[in-house]
Amino acid sequence: MTTTLPFTDWLVLAIFALAVGLTLAGALIAVLTTRIIRGVAGLMICCIGLAGLYYFLNSPFLALMEILIYVGAVCVTIVFAVMMAEPDESPSTQPVRSGHWWGAVAILIALLIGGGLARLALAGPWPDAPIERVNDGSVAALGASLLTTYSLAFEAISLVLLVAILGALVIARGGPPPHPGPP
């Protein structure tokens, strides 16, 4: 397309900022809120923002899969678990003492991972070759690459599901926690 709108760059930048903002805001909501249902909503917003970022990286398939799997399946499944909890839970007022330590450890790990990734992205070598289409993006090409080039990753995902099922079994076998009786 030869002619474009005069403010196209700004439009693209604004949409990119929207995607980044949604991701960050969603993640912050998911972490900082005390109500578990809002945490799920935050996770959902974060995933939608991530899908926008994938779209910016020219991967619409990945973006839609992110929405279909993480918003449509994972978040709904988490909600299933949330529904086992009390609907009108009051946010806990007393902070757990050991929570601070765990928080510090978590921040340290997050900083290490984030810093490492940022350093890799900034200092690491990027391929100079121009971007080219790997295949035509058809269903057949997609299936072929999932079952040949990326079959290891494809199979590894099923391991995650196995672990999830095992975890569910372990939790379910323990039964509900004993009800606190009258003192």
């Binding site: 909503a41 918003v71 709904v76 009108d88």
Partner: protein
Amino acid sequence: MSFLELEPIRILVYLVGICAFVGGNAAYLVLAERKGAGRIQRRPGPNEAGWGGWMQPFADGIKLLAKQVMVPPGTDSLLFRAAPLMVMAPPLMCLATIPFSDSLVARNLNIGLLFVFSFGSINVMALMLGGWASRNKYSIISAARVVSQSVAYEIPMLLVVITMLMVSGTMNLQEIIVQQGGGFWHWNLFKVWVNPLMPVTFVIFFTCMLAETNRAPFDMAEAESELVAGAFTEYGGMGFGVFFMAEYANIVVGCCLATVLFLGGWQSPIGYLSGGLWGLGWFLLKVYALISTVIWIRWTFPRTQFYSLLNLSWKILIPVSLVTLLLTGAMLKIPLLFR
């Protein structure tokens, strides 16, 4: 190059068009629903506003707009306000890739089928959040029902869609329609040489569509006689109106998708007259025929029990759709062995 051919402007024009289409449909499908209900129950239905009641949607709209939006104390007010916004967005997104005729499509995506289903899967979260944020016994029961019903029916629906994907070999909705050209015997619904169970596949898809859009006989989420209005109990005014509009928008999306996947989209049933405006006409004719069926089913069948609803999905629809999937795969691939 004219101003209209710029991509952002074109998308904007289509967006406005889709919003108008969804709004007009929601308004007049409510009237059609009430008229249909009246017809089936042997009463006239709304007939006071305008000739034969055709002004009724305006009266309803003004009434809903004039009502105050109340946020009852004790609700999770943030999520309570966010839910009506979230419930309306997914169907609008889905319509962006639905081809209404051979040239009338906002964005002809290569992965259109995936696009519709990924945004269609968000809908349940919005209903759930609305019900949960209301902090009302009936709404919470309704939210739990919405989630379990949607999880149960998403599986056979996606299995059917994978079957259709194997038949067509593409996720581009426009290409799926082009493959079904040349008369109604080429429609996927009648392609019994690909899979003898194809009509059964269509019935499964239609049933799942009814369940996913929470329509009777599967409207366990609303169930006005037992749960007041389910997830929308606490909503008044336009908050309630938006949930209602979203329900009809979802029906439109579901019927459009059924038309594209099984009934040949904008292809003419007789083999010619399927280009341009004719295509649009055929498409809308098929979509509205399906929507009338949806309304007809609602007022004909009583609401099912919740357990039989889940049993229907897990014990009947999922096994049958797996069988159709395997059968289609076998019938597509086994002839290749002997070639």
